[in-house]
Structures are given as structure tokens and as C-alpha cells.
């Protein structure tokens, strides 16, 4: 059968990536492929890494085994054996161990203490999907050749530029060759297999078309998309956004429907296959794309495909498909409500982004308004201008609670006794202001040390990860003849992300109130109490925990402290130049590091015990948000999010009873709209009750499908570690 075969093939599609099948006749066996590649690499030693990478890329696509699955609508499989990935690892290790050894070991030490990590970031990218779909592989190749010839003719072509164009041309020629190889095998399969009603012939036709021209139908456009995923990630840069799926693909969708090529139901069938394949690829942090948002013209981008995509997502409930809904005042409530309905039914791999804050935040980094309106949330919620920006959204992560700890102990980590950070004179802090000034100094040292690490690594990006395929999609790279990791994009930015805000704020508030205002205990005594993990001081610990001045409760003092702290943090980073011709952007989120950093952080002044989780993203410390979700939103709104162009998110956890019925849906919508009207940046939901989670922990096999939103991505609850599971249960108990 040609159509309506998705559900019978679903399990089979999932296995494509777990238990892959290869056509053995189609290419070299893996050992021979690796041997040949190694030989090629050896022969090319001393040549520019761009060229080595391009030639190896070509070698793999020319010689590697492929697969064309007769049950599938899309074909992309190449048995690449991680040759390029391993080559990059080798290049990266050389920089770590030989070139930047001292810096690398300091950074390793910082992370072993849970203080910060810093370095290179090649895993947050989005290619220019507009160019890919408009020009196709052939158009991109033609553009590369034209630009090279232009420069050659006027005599301005430099050696570096010549290498860039040569490498990119090799890579794009290889992609065409690969597409034709897939087409050949699709044609062979078509003869052998008539069970799928001519599907292989349709696939072969689409592939043949893509080898000579840009995509013209939805099937061709999706087919190109899936090939591009496979190949850019083989090159070495995970794709962390598929851009605005509705604005990119609607032209194909509507044309197919209008011309009668496919029906709406048939288009949905293609999307089912497409998303299941992306999901099956199982990139652990998910496969993001966005819907809605403002067009460069300032108009709303929603179109018929927006709804079709959400319907398909709702039907399939795939955990690794991540949808960003770009919200603005003119975005229809209907689209948001559809997304909210998915969320309350357990399909909650969805983040809402606020165009009204994100766009000004990006403009603050030097991007024009028209450009900023084409932002794609990269990875979790880190916006970057698609096609124009290489954002590196996770270069540096700073645990702010560790800065409090190092201030208390004059730069000696209490759990390990290791000297780290700047020395201090805690015995001389006679006022909260003195303590806070010392904290600022400690934080400043952490940030500048971490940034210095990234700045050094940036000098070596081209020795680690040249990206001829990725760069070839970007207009500025091709115009300049310069790789995306050599500063070829229009915006080449870096990032510093701050985490554990709630723990840091509550600790400061506790120190101000209990040490300096009420003088219940001296700073020195507090440090000793914390070192003993509150032994014998349980009353004090409870007194501090019970105090109402806590972040996330709409309490003026805590909210003001958070604002002050984050304004200071942002001032250390914002728009500092990097080494790629761009700037540093500030972010405020923890991903899942609040648990990991918590394990490495001793007891903190907010009443937290040693080695327990720190606060997540913008959340209150767990169980400390006593005033509920509206108060949490009011607190979060106190921070000026336009200063955080690298992204931030508010997690909202609701009990299932709070989202029931039409009232529940309206309330969820009201929370999103109100937070965004008050300047919120991004928001995501978990709808959970503690009983269900406890049962799932006890009987995992019965709850295998229970999804939770970890932090910008979803996971099956039963696959989380015990500490992460316990943390979710703890949070849900307080609803």
C-alpha cells in the first residue's frame, strides 16, 4: 500500500536508528571504509583542516554503505562510522592537551567543584533553512562556485578564501553524489518490491529532482531536510533548530494541496514519517523547531500548516520532537490553546517564547529588528538569528551558589578543601554590603576566568571544527569566503550562562537577615554550621527555611535582590567582544545542572543541605514557592529579560486538577499571556501529581510512557536517575 501505512511501520521506523540495516552491496564494509579514510587523512597531513574534512566527507559519501528502507518515505542513511566525529575529537584533544593544557586543567578543576565550565561550543547551530529550501543543494553549490569565480576574476581571492570555496564545493558535490546513490538504490528497490505501491519510485523521483534542482513539493522539501540533518551532524554540528517549520514548509504544503498532488491526510502521513524519523534519531536534547512568531515584515506567521503540525504532534506524542511556540500579541489564542491542550494531555515537549522580549534582547546585541524577527530558539530556549548567527549558546556555565560558598570560605571549597576562586577576608565582613561586595568579586573572578578560557578556545575553532557544509548554507560565509567557525557569519557570538539564581538569592537574603540584621549567629559561626551540614543547628535551619523572604514569592526584598544580582551578572558579560568578531551574550538557566552542581556544593545559607539540588532555571528553591504560580510569575517578571539574549526560561508546574476543563485551559493561557505581557522571556509547563510520580518510580514498567519536561527537553520519567526523580516528586508534593 502506498498510503496509511504509518502505524504498521512505526516500530520498524524506530528501529532504523537502534538496530540499523545496511545494504552491504552498496559500499565498503566499515573496516575497509575506516582504513581508507585513515589513509586519506594520513596522506593529507599538513593540509588545511577544512580540506581534510571536506575530502573525508566526500570519501565517506562516495564509499560508505547506505540504506534505502522500502517501508520509508525518506532516505538519508549513510554508514559513516563516526569517522569525522572521531577526527574532530582527535583535533579537539590536541588543543585541550597540547595547546591549552594549563587552561584546560583549570577548567576541569572548576567543573569538578561544580563552579563553572567553559570552552568551545559547536553543538548549538541552525543552518540557513531558507537558503537550503530556496536554492537546494545544487543552488548552494552554484553560489559557492560563482562567488569564488567573482573573486578570482577581480583578483581579490585570498588563499584562505580559496580553501574555503574548494572545501565547500567538494562537500556539496559529494552531497549530490550521495543523493544520486540513494536514488539508484530506491530504483533498484522499486523493482524488487511492489508491496509499497510504487513508493520507491516516487522517492527515487524526488531524490533525482533534488540532485538537479531545489525542492518543489513537500515530499522533496522534507526529504532534503532529513538528508541535511544526517549530513551536518556527520560533519560535526548538531542541528538545534529546524527554524520556523510552518513558515518554511507552508509554501510546499499549500502548493501540493492546491495542485491536487496530495491531500491533507497524505501530507499528515508524510509528517508522521518525518517526525518519527527525527525522533528516532534520539538526539538526547531533542529535535527543535518553532511555530508562529512574527515575520520580518512584522506580520503574524501562522498559516494552515501550523495547525497541521500541532495535530500531528498531538497524535504521535513524540518526546524528542521539541516545539517552540513564538508568541506575540497578535498570535491567535487558538494555536496556543492547541499547544496547551497537548501539554495537559502529557505531550509537553513545548516551550513558549515571547517575541516581544526576545526580539529587543537580540537587538541589544547589534541585530536589526527585521533580522531579529527571524530568530530561531536554538537548543532549549536560546534565540539566534537563523542563517545569520553562529551563536554558541553554551560556552560558559556559572553556578552562582558556588560563588556564595567560595565567599563564605575565602576561596576554599569546603567539601574538598581545594583552593579555588579569589582569596578573601571573611572575618572582616562587618556588614551585608561588605559580604555582597566580596561575593561580587568572587563572581567576577569566576566569570572572567571562564570567559578567558572560551576566548582562548575561540582562536582554535578552525583547528577543531571547520564546517564546510554548514557554512555553505550561510549567505555571509559564502560572500566572504570564510567558514562559520572562522567568523564568517554575520553574527558570531559566544555566551555566558548563569545558574542557580533562587539558591543564590535566598542565601544572600538569609545572610542579610540572620547574620547582619538579627545577629542570631556570626558569619564565621554560620560557615562552621554549614561545614557540618547543619549538625546541631536544625532549629536555625528551619527558622531560615520558614522565613517568608524567598525568591519566587512576590516578596519585594527577595525580588529586588534577584534583580540586582542579575543586573550585575549581565553587566559582567553583555556585549564583551569575543575572538570571532562577535560578542558575549548572557543567559540565565541551569539545563539539568542544578542537580549535578548541587552534588558538588556544600550546605548553603538558605537552609539547603549539602549535596542536594540547587534551584532550577528561574524557579524558586524547591518547596519555597509557597505563594503559588502567580506569585512566582510576578517575581520572575522583576528581572529585565532584555538583558539575557542567550535565553532563560520559567518552569511552571501545575497539578492536573488545576488544568481541568475549559477553565483550566483558560488559566494556562492566562499565565502565558500575563507573564509575556510583563516582559517574560520563555515558559514551559509540567502537569504532574506526586502520587503518579511515586507510582511510576515504584512500578516503572507500568509508566513507561510518562513524559516529564526536564529542562528544555523531555524525557521518560522512568529513565531519569533517582535524584532527578526524587526532585520532581519533591516539587510536585508542594503543588
Amino acid at each position: 500500500m502506498l498510503w496509511n501505512t504509518f502505524y504498521e511501520n512505526r516500530e520498524h521506523l524506530n528501529r532504523q536508528y537502534i538496530d540499523p540495516h545496511w545494504i552491504e552491496d552498496s559500499g565498503l564494509d566499515p573496516e575497509a571504509l575506516k582504513t581508507g579514510a585513515n589513509e586519506l587523512i594520513r596522506r593529507m597531513q599538513g593540509q588545511p583542516k577544512q580540506l581534510i574534512k571536506a575530502k573525508v566527507f566526500d570519501y565517506i559519501l562516495r564509499n560508505g554503505q547506505i540504506d534505502v528502507d522500502p517501508a520509508d518515505w525518506f532516505h538519508d542513511r549513510i554508514r559513516h562510522e563516526h569517522i569525522l566525529g572521531n577526527l574532530r575529537l582527535q583535533w579537539w584533544r590536541h588543543i585541550d592537551e597540547d595547546v591549552l593544557a594549563d587552561m584546560h586543567s583549570l577548567e576541569r578543576k572548576a567543573w569538578s567543584l561544580g563552579a563553572f565550565f567553559a570552552g568551545a561550543d559547536f553543538s548549538h547551530t541552525s543552518p540557513d533553512w531558507n537558503n537550503l529550501l530556496d536554492l537546494g543543494i545544487t543552488g548552494l553549490l552554484e553560489r559557492i562556485r560563482e562567488k569564488r569565480d567573482e573573486k578570482l576574476n577581480v583578483g581579490t581571492l585570498t588563499d584562505d578564501e580559496a580553501v574555503f570555496y574548494e572545501a565547500s564545493a567538494i562537500v556539496y558535490e559529494a552531497v549530490i553524489l550521495f543523493i544520486n546513490r540513494l536514488a539508484v538504490w530506491a530504483e533498484k528497490n522499486a523493482k524488487a518490491d511492489i508491496a509499497h505501491g510504487g513508493r520507491m519510485l516516487l522517492c527515487a523521483k524526488s531524490l533525482r529532482n533534488l540532485a538537479v534542482r531545489p525542492p518543489a513539493t513537500m515530499h522533496e522539501a522534507l526529504q532534503l531536510g532529513i538528508i541535511y540533518y544526517e549530513l551536518q551532524e556527520m560533519e560535526g554540528e548538531p542541528i538545534r533548530s529546524h527554524g520556523g517549520f510552518d513558515r518554511l514548509y507552508d509554501r510546499f504544503y499549500e502548493k501540493d494541496i492546491a495542485s491536487g498532488l496530495f491531500t491533507v491526510e497524505q501530507e499528515k502521513e508524510l509528517l508522521r514519517f518525518f517526525y518519527t524519523k527525527l525522533n528516532g534519531n534520539r538526539f538526547s536534547a531533542g529535535r527543535p523547531f518553532y511555530l508562529g512568531g512574527l515575520m520580518p515584515s512584522g506580520k503574524d506567521a501562522v498559516n494552515p500548516l501550523s495547525f497541521v503540525v500541532l495535530d500531528t504532534y498531538s497524535e504521535l506524542g513524540l518526546p524528542y520532537i521539541k516545539i517552540h511556540i513564538r508568541v506575540h500579541p497578535d498570535l491567535s489564542d487558538k494555536l496556543i490553546e492547541k499547544a496547551l491542550d497537548c501539554i495537559r494531555n502529557g505531550k509537553n515537549s513545548i516551550v513558549f517564547m515571547n517575541d516581544e522580549t526576545v526580539i529587543p534582547a537580540l537587538m541589544g546585541t547589534g541585530v536589526s529588528q527585521t533580522e531579529a524577527r527571524e530568530y530561531a530558539p536554538i537548543g532549549c530556549y536560546e534565540p539566534a538569528v537563523m542563517g545569520l548567527e553562529v551563536p554558541c549558546t553554551f560556552n560558559v556555565f556559572i553556578n552562582m551558589a558556588k560563588a556564595v560558598e567560595l565567599t563564605l570560605y575565602d576561596g576554599i571549597d569546603p567539601l574538598t578543601g581545594i583552593q579555588f576562586g579569589t582569596p578573601g577576608e571573611s572575618s572582616e565582613y562587618n556588614s551585608f554590603e561588605a559580604f555582597y561586595a566580596a561575593f561580587q568579586k568572587q563572581l567576577e573572578w569566576m566569570v572572567s576566568t571562564a570567559m578567558a578560557t572560551t576566548l582562548e578556545y575561540e582562536k582554535h575553532y578552525m583547528e577543531i571544527n571547520p564546517s564546510p557544509l554548514f557554512s555553505g548554507t550561510m549567505t555571509d560565509c559564502v560572500e566572504k569566503g570564510r567558514d562559520a567557525y572562522a567568523g564568517g557569519a554575520r553574527y558570531n557570538n559566544s555566551s555566558v550562562v548563569f545558574g542557580c539564581l533562587g539558591s543564590a538569592v535566598d542565601s544572600h537574603i538569609a545572610i542579610r537577615k540572620f547574620i547582619f540584621e538579627r545577629q542570631e549567629i556570626s558569619l564565621h559561626e554560620l560557615a562552621e554550621v554549614l561545614r557540618s551540614d547543619w549538625t546541631g543547628s536544625e532549629l536555625l535551619r528551619m527558622k531560615i527555611r520558614n522565613d517568608r523572604d524567598k525568591w519566587g514569592n512576590n516578596q519585594p526584598k527577595a525580588d529586588a535582590m534577584a534583580r540586582e544580582l542579575m543586573d550585575f551578572a549581565a553587566s559582567l558579560v553583555a556585549n564583551q567582544p569575543n575572538n570571532r568578531g562577535g560578542v558575549f551574550k548572557t543567559g540565565l538557566f541551569t539545563i539539568d545542572q542544578h542537580v549535578n552542581c548541587g552534588l558538588k556544593t556544600g550546605a548553603t545559607p538558605d537552609g539547603r543541605k549539602a549535596r542536594t539540588p540547587l534551584s532550577k532555571n528561574l524557579s524558586a528553591v524547591t518547596a519555597m514557592d509557597r505563594q503559588g504560580v502567580t506569585a512566582l510569575i510576578q517575581s520572575a517578571s522583576q528581572i529585565d529579560f532584555t538583558r539575557f539574549p542567550d535565553g532563560t526560561v520559567l518552569d511552571v508546574m501545575l497539578h492536573p486538577s488545576a488544568v481541568q476543563g475549559k477553565d483550566g485551559l483558560n488559566a494556562m493561557l492566562g499565565l502565558v499571556r500575563t507573564f509575556f505581557r510583563k516582559g517574560g522571556f520563555a515558559m514551559q509547563y509540567n502537569v504532574l501529581d506526586a502520587d503518579t510520580l511515586r507510582k511510576a518510580q515504584e512500578f516503572p514498567e507500568e509508566y513507561a510512557n510518562l513524559q516529564v519536561r526536564v529542562c528544555g527537553w523531555n524525557a521518560y520519567f522512568t529513565t531519569l536517575g533517582k535524584p532527578e526523580q526524587d526532585e520532581f516528586i519533591h516539587q510536585a508534593e508542594n503543588l
Partner: protein, 305 residues
């Protein structure tokens, strides 16, 4: 009008979404004329202040013993023991309790103080057409105070609702009538003898007030708490349908499921537990009951839909 008029408050609950339109804050007032055996807010029954002690949360820190002027709190063998008979609900202990185990119900708050808390969530009301709901207990027992709260909120252009059992003099309704955008009105049982057994009072005044309220043009949403084995039989549902369909102007009827989550509160208040040992009605039962009432031309919904 005296702006500092004070009332007796149980609790102020933010992000309340099932007590009227939009996102709301519900203010629970103390004191109720009824004694429903299934009451899920037993802290609202008495009009006097009461101390509530959640033994499970107690960490035996002994802080309450130090501050209590009446010897209501004692430590026996390192364990906290609470003597209700000694407590006069002064509330001093609640300020020092480290386990969050002691709560005072019936704190006196001025209307201005309450409205200040309510207005913290103003942006959410503006976005969703929400506002403030007065509930309890029976809020209208403090009718003048209710009127003041409603006036203060209404003059800010926000939606107001009153959740009432109806068992109060009509004069109390008159005080709040022009200030209330929506009445949430409970109907529990049509047989006045059974009503009296289950709630401590007959239903005549409740029904009478409902007719007058409807006639006055107020917006009314009927709420029926469905208590399996008590008021969920077809005969009672049909009688309810007949009664309500004879009253013009009822906008909506909502069937609310009984649940026994409040049982621990009886213990914590030192009250006899009167709650029926019966399960919460299923989604299907709620829908069927709603369906049955729809046959009477009533716009009825399950409280879970």
C-alpha cells in the same frame, strides 16, 4: 463607610480557577450557618478563631511551648502535646512554629489588607477577566464586610463573585447584590427533611432566597456537590432539575465531585469527623448527572470538564 472594617478570614487562595471566570483570588471567610456532614472546609464552620494543629508536620522544636501564655502547648518526653481546651486561639505560636504545623484560622483582617493581597495578582485578572471570589464558610454572615471587599475590588474594574450556601437572611443578599457580578449558589438536597439531617437546616430559606435572587436579575451559577449515597439518586437529581428549571435566569449548573481530602483537617481542628466514607464520584457519574439535568433545559457541566 469605615475603610478599616475588619472581618474574620480563614485563607486567601491565589490562582483559583474554578470559582468564577478567569484567574481569581478566593477569600475564605469564617463562620457558617450550616453543618454539612461532608463539609470540606471544617475550619470555616465556627465563627470563632481556631487553632489548627497538623501533628504530622510537627518537628517537636518546642518553640510554641515558650510563647504560649495559656499552657496549651506542652512537651512530654520530648514530644509536643497540644491541649485544645486550653487554647484561646491567640495565634502567638503560629509565628514561631518551625514545622508549619500550627495555623490560626479566623485572623482579623481589614478590608484594605485583604484587598492589598488580592490586588497582587491584578495583571492576571486583567488578562483573563478574572477577579475576586468570596467564599467560606458562608461569606454573607459577614455581609457588611463582604460589601466593603466587593466595593473595593469592583471600583478597580475587576470581576466579583460570591460563593454562598444561601442559608442567610435575604437582607444580607441585598447588601452585596449591586456589587456582585456572579453568585455561585449551592443546592444540596431537595427533600427538606433530609436537607436538615445532612446540613443542620431545612432548604426553604435557601430556595426562597434563590428565587428572589433570580428575580432581582443577578447572574447565578448553581453548584451541586455530588455526595454518593446522599444526594446522587435519580429522584433527587430530577427534583433538583424540576426546581431549577422553574427559575428563570440560571446561567449554568456545575456538578462538583465529593472528595474526602479534608478529613485530616477535622482531626487537626479537634473536631469529630463527620465526613462520609464514600469514594469520589467518577468522571462518568458526573457527566451522567450533568446529562440528566440537561434534560431539564439546564446548561449543566461536570466540575471536572
Amino acid at each position: 463607610m469605615n475603610q478599616s472594617i475588619a472581618g474574620s478570614i480563614i485563607d486567601i487562595k491565589r490562582f483559583s480557577i474554578h470559582d468564577g471566570p478567569g484567574i481569581r483570588t478566593t477569600v475564605f471567610l469564617k463562620g457558617c450557618p450550616l453543618r454539612c456532614i461532608w463539609c470540606h472546609n471544617p475550619e470555616g464552620i465556627s465563627d470563632a478563631p481556631e487553632l489548627c494543629y497538623f501533628e504530622k508536620k510537627c518537628v517537636n522544636c518546642g518553640q510554641c511551648v515558650v510563647v504560649c501564655p495559656h499552657n496549651a502547648h506542652r512537651m512530654v518526653d520530648g514530644k509536643h502535646v497540644f491541649k485544645w481546651e486550653n487554647c484561646n486561639a491567640c495565634g502567638l505560636c503560629t509565628n514561631v512554629c518551625l514545622g508549619d504545623a500550627l495555623t490560626l484560622y479566623g485572623e482579623k483582617m481589614t478590608a484594605d489588607e485583604v484587598v492589598a493581597v488580592v490586588m497582587e495578582d491584578e495583571p492576571f485578572y486583567r488578562e483573563t477577566g478574572g477577579g475576586m471570589t468570596l467564599s467560606g464558610g458562608e461569606p454573607l454572615l459577614q455581609a457588611a464586610y463582604c460589601a466593603e471587599l466587593l466595593r473595593l475590588v469592583k471600583q478597580r474594574g475587576l470581576h466579583t463573585a460570591v460563593d454562598t450556601c444561601g442559608a442567610v437572611p435575604w437582607a444580607f443578599f441585598k447588601e452585596v447584590l449591586p456589587l456582585t457580578d456572579l453568585f455561585l449558589y449551592d443546592i444540596k438536597h431537595m427533600d427538606t427533611a433530609l436537607h436538615s439531617i445532612y446540613t443542620g437546616a431545612g432548604n426553604e430559606r435557601i430556595h426562597d432566597n434563590l428565587r428572589r435572587l433570580a428575580k432581582s436579575g443577578a447572574a447565578i451559577e448553581i453548584r451541586i456537590p455530588l455526595i454518593p449515597g446522599y444526594n446522587d439518586d435519580d429522584a433527587n437529581i430530577d427534583a433538583t432539575g424540576t426546581f431549577l428549571s422553574g427559575i428563570a435566569g440560571i446561567e449554568k449548573v456545575v456538578i462538583l465531585p465529593y472528595h474526602s481530602l479534608a478529613r485530616s483537617k477535622y482531626l487537626a481542628l479537634g473536631l469529630a469527623d463527620t465526613m462520609p466514607h464514600t469514594a469520589s464520584p467518577s468522571d462518568e457519574t458526573l457527566r451522567k448527572t450533568a446529562e440528566r439535568l440537561r434534560a431539564f433545559g439546564l446548561n449543566t457541566a461536570s466540575g471536572r470538564d
